[in-house]
Subunit: 317 residues, 4 copies
């Protein structure tokens, strides 16, 4: 992650501020506030603001006049009940705002989550920095041969070196051409006074998709957890998953009860189809079950066996 001096100073100034409030506060999240948490080679996630805490979920569920909380045990039980039964509206009563720096191809996946508020740095209006994502060697994976949407073995030696050369070389070249076409110095004045610069809204099209962009991204806890359930998942692309994992840590600090319920009933949960459930019942009944007579396709059978992590005596694979 690279912050220039001015950016670091602005963050420090924001962190130094203190005011009194009647609103609920969460010390563990206050401690993180404004700090840039590094992600990938130049990216970051920063918590900019938040509304509510675990108690606010309980308070909304009870439509309370006061804080609405009772004993910790009782509140935790209610939050777990709400999560388990997918009563999502109380979780929508907490809100969080992030500042994120991320490669454009990651931003394109991320923006598909529509129930959020977004302000992106505009390359139509401003000039992007000369920063692009270059994978670290251990993340240079080959195409998976079993999953059209996944990764296989890691590239090594010359193969890896060649890829890194291409990514670095093309990103630098296209950025330098972008700057040449813009023909602007830091003040917006032309570098070369003898020729016109290309409009920013046009010049940007020459940049590669690993160029970094930034945005403010604000959402409620319910939609954030939905985002995390998809993006902190093992099937998510590595480059977005690392953002999700850091954000999950901020959720942990912010609403620990809701976060634990989320881990138990979502992240660590499995959904069994009607047919899968029937198979599990037959297994529990003691009868041997094999894929051909299971009512499951080979693919689903494989998924179920993966879930059950099984070499138990009930199954004959």
């Amino acid at each position: 992650m690279t912050l220039n001096e001015q950016q670091s100073a602005e963050i420090a100034a924001a962190r130094a501020a203190a005011a009194e409030t009647r609103r609920p506060t969460v010390p563990a999240l206050e401690a993180m506030l404004y700090e840039a948490i590094p992600v990938l080679d130049h990216g970051f996630v920063r918590v900019i603001d938040y509304m509510g805490d675990d108690a606010a979920i309980v308070q909304a569920a009870r439509v309370s006049y006061g804080r609405g909380t009772r004993r910790v045990q009782e509140d935790a039980g209610l939050i777990r009940y709400l999560m388990r039964h997918r009563h999502s509206t109380p979780f929508e009563m907490c809100e969080i705002k992030y500042h994120v720096k991320l490669p454009i191809f990651v931003a394109r996946q991320w923006i598909r989550h529509r129930t959020a508020n977004v302000n992106e740095y505009s390359a139509r209006y401003s000039i992007l920095d000369r920063e692009f994502y270059i994978p670290s060697p251990e993340n240079l994976a080959a195409q998976s041969v079993v999953n059209r949407q996944g990764r296989g073995a890691v590239l090594e030696g010359e193969d890896a070196a060649r890829v890194l050369d291409i990514l670095r070389g093309d990103a630098m070249q296209t950025y330098d051409h972008y700057a040449e076409m813009l023909n602007e110095d830091e003040t917006g004045a032309p570098r070369d006074a003898d020729r016109p610069g290309l409009a920013r809204e046009l010049a940007r099209m020459n940049l590669t998709l690993n160029t970094y962009t930034q945005w403010y991204w604000k959402t409620d806890l319910h939609n954030l957890l939905h985002f995390l359930s998809l993006r902190a998942d093992a099937h998510a692309q590595y480059e977005i998953r690392v953002y999700a994992e850091e954000m999950l840590r901020t959720v942990e600090a912010w609403v620990p009860l809701a976060c634990q319920a989320f881990r138990d009933y979502r992240l660590g949960a499995v959904t069994l189809s009607a047919q899968m459930l029937a198979v599990v019942k037959r297994m529990l009944g003691g009868g041997p079950v094999a894929q051909p007579d299971s009512g499951l396709s080979k693919r689903e059978w494989g998924e179920l066996m993966g879930v059950l992590d099984t070499h138990n005596r009930h199954s004959r694979p």
Copy 2:
């Protein structure tokens, strides 16, 4: 407005809380926090929480590392520019949460604004209070004869008395029957142990639409302003407009710069159709314009004349 002792105590306790925060705070809104602002005969609006301030709009528009504000004059100018040109996303970066007590027929209009988070008090799960909206005499209006969706003259004397009798009598009777069918005391135990109570989810259907309900309602500033532009408007039904007007006052305290821009460019603004604009130009050119040759329907001509508030020499009505 009626708050029982416990409710008042809970509100007082919430108001007494104080904590330190690094987040932006707005003293004028903090002063209002949690207080029940009376609306109609038994309703209220309470600000429960908020995120952001005028500076947060500027900060998001600039995708800043720090607070992002410059001179007040410059910030105000940017906020006015954003409002005038309908750049709505920076206004979405502020969020507010209300607790509202309101008659069910008002709640049914309100809920049509879909871009908000809502937790309503559940009459499936709990028992509603014996409170219903009865209009004050000056709000007992006859049906408008010119506008199928509006009000005309105020009812008086016996006509008014008869209406109030009906509204009061029916609300009390249906509520008492509701209580009889429920057959529950405050602890949930049967009042009359010899007969079963009807399920709450069924008994509620006997209540009239002026019964009060409550909800937590949370939205962002952009969507709140859209709500207020429709509901604080003269064409809105009186019973929802009074809520909108109180909420507008909370917005005034919260984000004064955005609120002033909203008054100038939305609440006090007018939209002229292509044809209306052509008429205004002809008037400014000095030529007389009459409805028949204006290209406007009589209705639109009337709307334009209303906007121009005119008896000026250009128009021949």
Copy 3:
């Protein structure tokens, strides 16, 4: 269900229409088009329009130039894969529009599903019919003693008769008072020329929540299935569930492959929490598991046992 002569004639005329189209059509759904499917005592559901079919899901998932379908077997497999892995966007490419007549207290639950387009009959502008929902005797349930949000035993004899008397009596009385306050005949002229009528937007507040309203409701298949997963579920209130069940039948006719996948992977599926999954694995491993050492609360243990429908040898309850 009650349709007057004019309504029946209008429906018949709409059903008689026929035109040629290049769009995908679904004969089984065309057969249902415009027909009022009765629900409850006076309500109905009517399919007004639809866009897309099973093939449109496949076509969108493949971003095809043509119809995008291959062999039926392959299309079904893709649809099942999309449903199983919650790839929801292709299902959003199908759209359906209903006309629904329903009691207001049901409408209030229904409207909580925000991702739909709604046009409701306006009681601010028009006059509601004299129709209210009165439960049939077998649906007159007592409050559940185990579930604060559910029903218990059915009321019988005098208890039932008293409830029905109240519901009928109050609905008729409040409606008659509504009509009296309005003081309008069918043409909008005053019934009693000597007194003014109350504005419609006010008079409606005297109606009870079992009064019928109507709306046009339009949504995409993904959001419809989400609605059905909650409302066609055994935990939904009976009075909304019967609507969901009829709508599920229209989905069956419309997109049979997607509907079957929905039944298998949603309606008939179960979600096991991390702790529940651990218990199932221990059971499959042959070891005895009891609630106290299961890591599950009594409530969750009960839920798991319910799912497994078990009296198998692994569990010691």
Copy 4:
């Protein structure tokens, strides 16, 4: 625009289909159905499906049992009334689905409109074609000196040639490197069997933002008109505006009454702030008004004079 043989054949096959339907049909839009309307150098817009017509707006506004239409004159009047008073829900009852091929930097602007359903061609799963947008010479504009977000004079001669060389050269080079890193032939087999290919989800990051992507995009008429009001506007970037203009033509064919109302009350309309309105009234009153005593900033004064297109005797600039 480039369609390969198979794509053209698939489109022709879809256009050849015909079925009977009870649904409303619009012959003028049916005539366009599935056809690729060329936009930019390789892009297109295709109408894939639609639901509803002008009458469906009227029908929903009236919550009708039948088609709900009356005399054409009356329907047009209602549609114009709904548009003028921003009663948006009846317009949401029409839905349209497009297949669009567009440069990635245009897609990034477009996706900011969140109230639509989208299925994008996945470069994580599939391989993008070797097609990129290169502006035609008359669209190679310099950065505007008055508007940080706009274009100025057109580049000419060597300046233009240099820009085109860069854009073409970099796009081809980065694409060829993308293909080299992928190391896949059309069947997915490695081109060079001696080395592994990079995962598709990684290789794509080397592409430039003018590479073409594709998506299915579906929205309702209200949200489409909002999109068009922003993107068919003179302030929109040329490269998205040309898409909006073609889509506006499809709306013209589809719902001619709504489209005319949209042109009159939105596209051709102007909004005057409270202060601007006061100035217009003073002008109409005959008094001279100058910027310094107008209550308008210089910028707003300029905007107002632009709207009034004025050199009339009332203003002293």
